[in-house]
Amino acid sequence: MNKLINDPGNVVADALRGLAAAHPELRVDHEQRVVFRGDAPVRGKVGLVSGGGSGHEPLHAGFVGAGMLDAACAGEIFTSPVPDQMAAATNGVDGGAGVLHIVKNYTGDVMNFEMAAELAETEVVAVVIDDDVAVQDSLYTAGRRGVGVTVLVEKIAGAAAEEGRPLDAVAAVARKVNSQGRSMGVALSSCTVPAAGRPTFDLPDGEMELGIGIHGEPGRRRVPTGTAAEIAEMLLAPILADLDFTGGDGVICFVNGMGATPLIELYVMYQEVAAILGKAGVPIARSLVGPYITSLDMAGCSVTLLKADDEILRLWDAPVRTPALRWGV
């Protein structure tokens, strides 16, 4: 395990110290492991809180700032934070207009955020993100995982909150984005959890895990590696089969790196994704290419499509000023 870390048990604490040092505009509660906007709570604004296991950087702390999250809770690597953290975050961003919890749909995250909402001293609405088409969705399962759409929800709902919309309206925007977004990922190598010290799964050269989760959860199936064009097809087919993306105002197309995949490969992928969408009659309205929701040192990528409308595009284009996403300000 070749990693730039100290004690594997201290990775999260060390990284939060690094984040705090590199971003003096943020306020970090190292005790509770919560990263706040420097000016939180913002009077009269709905507060946005997210969080989850660490190892997906820049998600979530890299999205704290004006126009996006007010606070992010950092759990242990791949382990949901605890309710105390979320409650501290919630109380700390409460500007009098209530707080939105953006929760990725994993059993642990959902339950811990639920308990936090019970502990919090303000009105809380939770939106659960479940966009991963690799997982079968049904009333009788844990449901789809929350992956790439989380980034888009944090941006778009963040812009809605920044506009001064009330809690219900911000939650409605978040739910709309979630309902109109779909994702699918692929791993070309396993990630290695520092405390475990060895790869989470074995992936022989020449094979890839299609439908991988962001914690290294096994995917739909293991297949021989393909060209970028073939991989783009394998990722997009189930997404396009799950929701009709034609018509409307085009899509926000997000090609995400898993942590160890260099940007040059993501651009190669983007090109293939764009070509397929062109043939499918799905116009691309906006794009995002880069490692934004990662899985430690996993090689691979995911593709997220969000069916956009005027409102979504306007909120997407609105100013944002965070460590990882920044424009218009």
């Binding site: 382990t79 934070p81 605890v82 309710p83 642990g108 844990a142 405390a195 914690h215």
Partner: protein, 211 residues
């Protein structure tokens, strides 16, 4: 009255559970690696170590207090799915324990029934979903019926442990419908559930320490 469980015995139960978790940390993590995310042993060990430290420094004097401190510490330190689930279990036991200074077999059965209900509510899972419920539920039923039959606590707890073990084994062929293992669909069959394994240690610790 050998069937009275006093505060010392309850401390012993929690410590013994912590010891079993520590001893089987790697087993729990390996089970979780197969169908989850390879952290159940790490999570539970982090939580139970914190619990032991808390109980040592605060030394709560009543059953409701020891369960409350245990539950709150687990909620605050474990995270993931097992933190809220084990936390809820102990917090429900605390609520039921009320002002009692000690517990008898009937009390204990009530407490564990409340714990079971709490886990089921929190996790929205049912028996057969391949979760800790599949060991906890039959264990509680076995305990209840043995106590109802007037069996001594030692016998009743022994029956509960055996039922948990059977429930744990029964998770192996199951296809998971809840928790992280559910993402695997059919590929989750053939593996023993980590949470069902850790909860069986909770029962085993009770049998060792409470009778």
């Amino acid at each position: 009255m050998p069937d009275t469980v006093d505060i010392t015995a309850l401390h012993g139960w929690i410590r013994e559970f912590a010891r079993l978790i520590a001893d089987h940390k790697d087993l729990l993590t390996e089970l979780d690696a197969a169908i989850g995310d390879a952290d159940h042993g790490i999570n539970m060990h982090r939580g139970m170590s914190a619990v032991v430290t808390t109980l040592e420094s605060e030394s709560p004097g009543r059953p409701s207090e020891i369960f409350k401190r245990t539950g709150m510490t687990l909620v605050s330190t474990v995270g993931g799915a097992s933190g809220p689930l084990y936390g809820t279990a102990f917090l429900r036991m605390s609520a039921i324990a009320g002002d009692a200074e000690s517990l008898d077999g009937t009390d204990l059965a009530k407490l564990l029934r409340a714990a079971l209900d709490g886990v089921a509510q929190r996790g929205k899972a049912s028996v057969g979903d391949k979760t800790m419920l599949d060991a906890l539920s039959p264990a509680v039923e076995a305990l209840e019926s043995a106590i109802e039959d007037g069996q001594p606590l030692a016998v009743a707890l022994g029956a509960a442990v055996r039922a948990a073990e059977e429930g744990r084994a029964a998770t192996i062929p199951m296809v998971a419908r809840k928790g992280r293992a559910s993402y695997l669909g059919e590929r989750s069959a053939g593996h023993q559930d980590p949470g069902a394994t850790s909860v069986t240690f909770l029962l085993a610790a009770a049998a060792t320490s409470l009778s």
